[in-house]
């Protein structure tokens, strides 16, 4: 008896009682569907997170200096720049960021939602912001603490009718000249990432009366080395402060990595829980196969009398069980894809977030081979029982 004959026999038997076969498969179908949708959701969320982080800049690192107790020693911008220059494999660009809280007035209008930040000349490159018109903040602006600013596209469009260069605006009563306009980044909404003003950090720190800068943004050379680069920075800072509460370093890539691995843990746990239904489905198949073996005792007796060896009976029942389970797996995969599409649609409709539930080929193949494997595993015991039947008793069975 060849395998294809065995397969044909199994197919025939499954098809001869469709309803029963379908019910037998149900556990596997549900399990595989659940695993595929959950894995797909995991992929979707990971992609969504990655995209969100990419907007922030995955190669960014933020250093916040808190200082040590009362002794007001603080690392200077120059000293940090030295650290950056000493580690060219880890760091590339650096810029201070000074957040200002002053009121912004354009003409007679007060802008409440606009954010004002003091930055260095490399800030725009670090954040991948592109100058659409005019120029950015330059070194000479920092040195001379000039009152110039770069504005976001929202302000340029709504307040200056697209011709902001050369115009002036007031921050805390001080007049600033607009020297550059940024390209539109988001959707030009009030309070969004296009409703911004950038001024030289030195000017900003003088206006905010702190005289000290405490937050810096850097680019790291390689995202893959994010953790190592972070450690390099932390070590350098520790050498200065001798106290690890005096500073904070965070790398976007590392944060993404941490979140991704947390998400993966959650998804794995969910997939394992869904996988339990595969085991339950397997037990269901075993149960039906045991019933089927008993029902077909006479058939087994006839086949044995006509010269079937034990291995053929074993093969016949294992094939039938594996085929049932694998068919369940295929149906589950199809349902999984359908449900993934439906869930994607639902998320888009309800949450306005772009999470695409996309099962990857790996998890599909895994789900399929697990379901086929379950069929073999749970089919073996009933098949063995069938194969070892005594032909005389089996023939007499009613």
């Amino acid at each position: 008896m060849t395998f294809s004959e065995c397969f044909g026999m199994a197919w025939k038997n499954i098809m001869s009682s469709k309803m029963r076969s379908l019910l037998t498969m149900l556990g596997i179908i549900i399990g595989v569907t659940a695993v595929i949708v959950i894995m797909g959701m995991g992929n979707g969320m990971e992609n969504y997170m990655r995209e969100s982080f990419q907007e922030l800049g995955t190669n960014n690192m933020t250093v916040t200096l808190i200082g040590r107790g009362n002794s007001y020693t603080q690392m200077s911008y120059e000293e940090l720049q030295e650290i950056v220059e000493e580690n060219p494999d880890d760091f590339d660009l650096i810029s201070p960021t000074v957040t200002m809280t002053g009121t912004v007035k354009i003409g007679s209008e007060t802008m409440d939602a606009t954010s004002v930040t003091g930055v260095g000349e490399d800030y725009f490159e670090i954040k991948s912001l592109h100058i659409a018109q005019g120029r950015g903040i330059q070194y000479v602006d920092e040195l001379k603490r000039t009152y110039v600013c770069v504005i976001g596209s929202y302000l340029n469009n709504t307040m200056f009718n697209g011709n902001g260069i050369g115009e002036t605006l007031k921050i805390d009563g001080r007049e600033f000249t607009v020297v550059g306009v940024l390209e539109e980044k988001a959707d030009s909404e009030e309070g969004g990432s296009d409703d911004v003003i950038y001024v030289p950090y030195s000017t900003a720190s003088r206006l905010s009366f702190t005289g000290m800068m405490s937050t810096y943004i850097l680019t790291i050379v390689s995202e893959d080395r994010a953790s190592e680069s972070k450690t390099v920075m932390e070590n350098a800072l520790y050498n200065y402060y001798k106290d690890d509460d005096s500073y904070m370093v965070s790398a976007t890539a590392e944060a993404l990595e941490t979140m991704t691995s947390m998400l993966n843990v959650v998804i794995t746990v969910l997939a394992v829980i869904a996988g339990i239904s595969l085991v339950v489905g397997g037990i269901g198949i075993m149960n039906i196969m045991l019933v089927s073996v008993t029902e077909r005792t006479r058939e087994i007796g006839i086949r044995k009398a006509l010269g079937s060896k034990e291995k053929y009976i074993l093969m016949q029942f294992v094939t039938e069980s594996a085929l049932t389970s694998a068919l369940g797996g295929i149906i589950g995969i199809l349902l999984g894809y359908l449900l993934s599409a439906a869930v994607t649609e639902a998320i888009t409709q309800l949450m306005e977030a772009d999470i695409t539930v996309s099962p990857d080929l790996g998890s599909v193949l895994l789900a399929f081979s697990i379901s086929a494997g379950i069929g073999v595993f749970f089919g073996y015991m009933p098949a063995k029982k069938a194969a070892q039947m005594n032909p005389i008793d089996a023939l007499r069975y009613d």
Partner: protein, 247 residues
């Protein structure tokens, strides 16, 4: 006539253990069947004829003694070897026909050929030829349940013949049939015998045994008569359990 010996029972005994008691279903049985014979093994229920048929059919092995089928000692074989012997050398005809209900007639007849490893094309041809022979060539695609009992039994004769076995073993082949179709089946068996096949017929019915050439009568695990069907002693009941019935 130096005919080849097909079946040889040498002091065959079969012992069953039922709880504490030991039952000797066959007790030192000796006989031989030669190629081309038509033998009926007759006996009441409990006479040991079923045990003998199981042993002849290689469904069971003797507890003691030797059973040689075409010179091969069946008692020493394992289950898979027995399956192979059944497949190659024996053609079974059962009282309940024992066709596989989900397979059509052609596929039913093909089953033993499939286990013998006959290629699909040849299998199909041989099965079709066997069905033609029993007069069911026009119903090959029918399912067994669409046939009458007599027709089903003819399918099982076709199935038994398809593998060209050394022995055709018929166990109460007319037991489930009315007398007219029963006679048809028996005529077909005689025809099978005339074509040179060795036929062993197991029955409790003297009338059916009379279609054979030779009768082996069993009682209580012993052979009480072994001879031609024409001998007047062939159908004498050896023992009547009057005393036990009276109690």
């Amino acid at each position: 006539m130096a005919q080849e010996t097909i079946i040889e029972f040498r002091d065959v005994s079969k012992v069953y253990h039922m709880g504490d008691s030991i039952i000797r279903a066959a007790d030192h049985v000796n006989f031989t069947v030669k190629k081309g014979e038509f033998v009926a093994i007759v006996g009441q229920s409990g006479s040991g004829k079923s045990t003998c048929m199981n042993i002849i059919g290689c469904l069971d092995v003797p507890s003691e003694g030797e059973y040689l089928l075409q010179g091969k000692n069946v008692g020493e074989m394992d289950r898979d070897e027995l399956a192979e012997i059944r497949n190659e050398m024996l053609g079974f005809i059962f009282q309940q026909y024992n066709l596989l209900p989900k397979l059509n007639l052609l596929e039913n007849v093909e089953v033993p050929l499939m286990y013998a490893g006959v290629p699909k094309e040849e299998r199909r041809e041989r099965a079709a030829a066997a069905l033609e022979k029993v007069g069911l060539g026009n119903k090959m695609k029918h399912l067994p349940t669409q046939l009458s009992g007599g027709q089903q039994q003819r399918v099982s004769i076709a199935r038994a013949l398809a593998g060209s076995p050394s022995v055709i073993l018929a166990d109460e082949p007319t037991g489930a049939l009315d007398s007219r179709t029963g006679r048809e089946v028996l005529r077909m068996l005689q025809q099978v015998h005339r074509e040179g096949n060795t036929v062993v017929l197991i029955t409790h019915d003297n009338g059916i045994a009379a279609t054979a050439q030779r009768v082996i009568r069993l009682d209580d695990g012993h052979i009480v008569y072994d001879g031609p069907v024409t001998d007047p002693n062939a159908f004498v009941q050896p023992k009547i359990y009057t005393e036990e019935v009276a109690q």
